[in-house]
Subunit: 250 residues, 2 copies
């Protein structure tokens, strides 16, 4: 059974897609089989893997309008269940569907992967709820900006709701500081607020600002293919190592 | 009747709150009476004006659970209809309410202000729809990042839907480039894509990266009070001038 990881934050632009793409690539470099799932109607992960026009998308898969084989995209380096802008209307339907939280986890049973990484949209609706319901670990990328941690309570409450019945095993792997500079006043203040919060852990690894992390998505490449010696590559690999060490012990 | 301006973008972190706060302050410096409305449950605009614990919020006002006088906050420099995290549940109720688009514009009739500025959440639900239904002009702050303009079509479609019946007069004042550096490859590519798009206009003024624009929100001040000689202050005042010139001629 694959280990499922959800990358989630209801705040936009904090680095979910960047983390999903490159954590997936780091795990692949270590020899693991990785599946990426794009649950964001804006489809940035889908585009970042170089996939332009997916024939089917995650919403159709969840509503049984397309099969796994019809939806799955298997590129030379990446396996992906893609998103499309049609996902917005599917989220409305899922919102109205009782037990929609079970749909994704049922789809993931027995798939031939070591890790499944789900890139969530910047919202706490049916798509994120379904991801958390299917997930073993969730990661919350966060920036060192003013008000960055507002909304964290809502994320934790959503995870608690999932933990109560549908997915008692869900665990927070940690908060990942992204575009992070501990020398700035806001970086420090966000880090201190989080360290003072007993219900969260913060990864020791953080991802610094690196333009290569933005550029590689324009070429459909991971940071390791695009700029293997960049600090973005080093930071993401260090983060992957810490993630594996922590999750193998807990 | 006040002129109503909505600041909207379904993408997170593009500068809606920064624009709402400081465009409002710039208009006030010119002598106009300005009302700010925070429609984001994360309440960044409310916090940025120094307001900690609003007794009532915009959702209660729209559902007639609190009066205008009970909800309005009148500080020494700012008039504000605040947000609170309760707005999330109110948005669900508004989503289910027929004609909810009319509620905000009815509340704004005959209010003693020259300009009303609405800070929208990063979504295209009932709150943004209600803002656009009440608005004369809407502004879309956007960053010079990869994929920054994905989702713009959805914003324009939402505005077109509003224009069809409930608010035929709604106009796009322009896209405002924020944290913008035309010397970067992504800045240029976003700017070129937008300039090639006939259904949008881009403001000539853009807002450059300036840490003072983040810092001032921590002190409950506008950029003009916090750092009057900063480039953030100059950029926002230039933008205000261009906005007034354009909207007075169209
Ligand atoms: N460490 C970094 N250094 C430089 N740029 C980064 C970094 N992390 C992310 N970015 C860039 O910042 C932008 C936002 O990142 P990303 O798309 O990963 O965030 P997101 O949380 O997935 O956003 P959304 O909520 O819109 O899905 C992208 O243009 C991305 O390339
Ligand atoms: N020009 C700028 N220079 C430096 N920092 C900026 C600039 N514009 C915005 N910021 C900072 O970037 C972050 C996001 O900006 P802001 O809150 O205005 O975006 P938003 O679109 O309202 O986000 P949300 O979608 O979460 O409501 C804030 O921490 C803000 O202080
Ligand atoms: Mg994303
Ligand atoms: Mg905002």
């Amino acid at each position: 059974r694959p280990i499922t990881i959800s990358i989630t934050n209801n705040k936009g632009g904090t680095g979910k897609t960047t983390t999903a793409l490159n954590l997936g690539a780091a795990l692949q470099k270590k020899g693991f089989r990785v599946l990426l799932i794009d649950l964001d109607a804006q489809g940035n992960l889908t585009l970042a893997t170089g996939c332009r026009q997916p024939r089917h998308h995650a919403g159709e898969l969840l509503m049984d309008e397309a099969s796994w084989e019809e939806t799955l995209i298997t590129g030379p380096t990446v396996h992906l269940i893609p998103a499309s802008r049609m996902l917005l209307s599917y989220e409305h339907r899922l919102n109205a569907e009782p037990d929609s939280g079970y749909l994704l986890r049922e789809q993931l049973e027995n798939r031939p992967y070591d890790y499944v990484i789900i890139d969530c949209p910047p919202s706490l609706g049916a798509l994120t709820f379904g991801a958390l319901s299917a997930t073993d670990w969730f990661i919350v990328p966060m920036q060192g900006e003013n008000f960055a941690y507002i909304g964290l309570d809502e994320i934790l409450q959503c995870a608690a709701k999932v933990r109560r019945r549908i997915n008692p095993g869900i665990k927070l792997a940690g908060i990942l500081m992204n575009k992070f500079d501990l020398r700035t006043k806001f970086g420090q203040s966000v880090y201190q607020k989080l360290s003072a919060n007993p219900s969260v852990r913060v990864f020791n690894s953080s991802i610094r600002q690196d333009i290569s992390l933005m550029e590689c998505t324009a070429f459909g490449q991971s940071i390791f293919d695009y700029a293997p010696n960049s600090r973005g590559a080093r930071d993401l690999m260090n983060f992957c190592d810490e993630f594996l060490q922590y999750t193998n012990q807990h």
